[in-house]
């Protein structure tokens, strides 16, 4: 199961990255058109921001699985594995709390857009609930991954398997962190 989640989050990051590159190309073309042909598509910035919002919300789970959401290990590093594991569980629970609220409010915002027929105030006039629902779905995926992880590490905690908890959701050791930063 965990490997499926990893794979899903990795695919969504690849797709998000692809779309990011696509928006870089769009912006590049817009700049060329504006400077050479005095023509502006109007709205490239807006479409790119939707791509950005959706891409990032679908990447949050990958960030979590890579243990890259910043935690400050002032005391954490000096604690026993059991205490660390307990804090890992607490951390994930806290993150789930705020993510659940974020997701719920994002849904609320999306349904509001739908109800009032909200459209962006630009030449494009995009119907807002469409990008918003894709964005909210990414947040929902982020939340689901957290629920699964929280379940797994709680089970591991009961089984007293602190080492595996650290591998799943511990604060990264320095060696691991740099590996991310420079790995090719």
């Amino acid at each position: 199961m965990l490997s499926i989640i990893h794979a899903l989050s990795r695919y969504s990051v690849w797709i998000s990255g692809g779309f990011l590159l696509l928006s870089a190309v769009l912006v590049g073309v817009e700049v060329l058109m504006r400077n050479i042909f005095q023509y502006s598509f109007g709205g490239v910035d807006e479409i790119s921001s939707y791509i950005f919002a959706i891409g990032v919300s679908w990447s949050l789970a990958f960030t979590l699985l890579s243990r890259a959401h910043i935690r400050i290990d002032l005391f954490y590093g000096r604690m026993t594995p059991t205490w660390r594991a307990a804090l890992d569980i607490l951390s994930l629970a806290c993150l789930l709390c705020v993510t659940a609220l974020l997701f719920q409010q994002a849904l609320d915002s999306t349904t509001t857009s739908f109800e009032i027929g909200a459209r962006s105030n630009t030449p494009l006039g995009v119907t807002l609930w469409i990008p918003q629902s894709l964005w909210a779905a990414g947040l929902g995926f982020f939340g689901l991954v957290q629920i699964y992880l929280l379940g797994s590490i709680t089970r591991l905690f009961i089984k007293n398997n602190m080492k595996q908890i650290a591998e799943i959701s511990g604060v990264k050791s320095l060696d691991e962190e740099i590996e991310d930063e420079i790995s090719a």
Partner: protein, 323 residues
């Protein structure tokens, strides 16, 4: 009058627009308490302090996160084109016309806001005349042809496109440098706000054809309003009526002050510039009417639909053609 202890919570406008410090803050935190012997008080924060962009104010009022709030009509023009109704580009060259248009269209907006957001419209007010700031010579409307113009809303974009210009959208904060570097040739904003943002330092010609007044509204969440004592409601209705008149006069003063400051005239609150004030030719005023009819109104009708257009014609349209 007897006023129960009431504490109001207000989301004010942009701290950077003169009106916030000069009019909004004193109204809520000084005038209301002094009229009620300190029984009605209010706390007010600016959009900047809350880190808001403006458009979400309508929705936050709908949710009840904000009770009293102010926001630009243009921010939610996407939600409903009726918001463009009182400020279509080029329909009101002077502030007297703008005020008449605003008053005429107010009932339509009040109905829209109540239905859509569950908020009660308290007042409509202008910022100031929206004009063209260009970093090169411009003598007439036809000189906009081929120029890259930053526009803040769709109806001004329609107008500029009608005149043959290329419209560009970008954040307000990036306009100064974009003008300076020539990313764009002209940009549209208020006479005073352009002056306070330093646009006169990066542009040479101010073309004073007014393409809008950037109207704002003050409204209140209907449920929050219901909870207020009748005496407080009456007081607010009366005082906001007076406030509306004051804000309109202030809008006229700011328009003149901004224009004068940017072009090296008398200048008290703004920053003195040395821009060339392009005289508005009679031919341009006529060309403007043609653009309004052929492009601005035609496109507005498309966006807005038949019923909305009919209502607009009965209220604003009748008034404009009568002029």
């Amino acid at each position: 009058q007897d006023y129960p202890k009431t504490e109001l919570s207000v989301q004010g406008g942009w701290a950077t627009a003169g009106i916030y410090q000069e009019i909004e803050v004193p109204f809520w935190t000084e005038r209301l308490p002094s009229l009620t012997g300190g029984n009605v008080t209010a706390s007010i924060t600016s959009l900047n302090e809350k880190g808001l962009k403006g458009p979400e104010v309508f929705r936050l009022m709908r949710m009840g996160v904000i009770d009293f709030g102010t926001s630009a009509l243009g921010y939610v023009a996407g939600d409903d084109p009726q918001n463009e109704g009182p400020d279509l580009a080029g329909i009101a060259l002077d502030i007297e016309t703008a005020r008449k248009v605003s008053d005429a269209y107010k009932p339509a907006l009040a109905k829209l806001y109540m239905e859509k957001y569950g908020i009660k419209l308290l007042m409509l007010y202008p910022t100031e005349a929206q004009v063209f700031w260009c970093n090169g010579p411009i003598e007439s409307l036809s000189d906009l042809r081929g120029k890259k113009v930053r526009t803040g809303n769709r109806t001004v974009a329609d107008f500029v496109e009608g005149a043959g210009g290329v419209t560009v959208t970008m954040p307000f904060g990036e306009v100064v440098t974009s003008l300076q570097l020539g990313v764009i040739d002209c940009a549209v904003t208020g006479t005073f706000s352009g002056n306070s943002a330093g646009w006169h330092e990066v542009t040479t010609h101010l073309y004073p054809l007014t393409v809008g007044w950037s109207p704002f509204m003050y409204a209140v969440n209907a449920k929050a309003w219901e909870k207020l004592a009748p005496s407080v409601q009456a007081l607010l209705t009366e005082e906001m009526g007076k406030l509306e008149d004051e804000v309109w006069s202030a809008g006229a003063a700011r328009t003149a002050e901004g224009l004068s400051c940017a072009t090296g005239g008398e200048c008290i609150f703004g920053k003195k510039g040395a821009m060339t004030l392009v005289p508005l030719a009679e031919a341009d005023v006529e060309l403007r009417s043609k653009l309004v009819n052929d492009v601005v109104l035609a496109r507005f009708a498309q966006r807005c639909g038949d019923a909305c257009m009919a209502e607009w014609n009965e209220t604003v349209g009748a008034l404009i053609s009568a002029d």
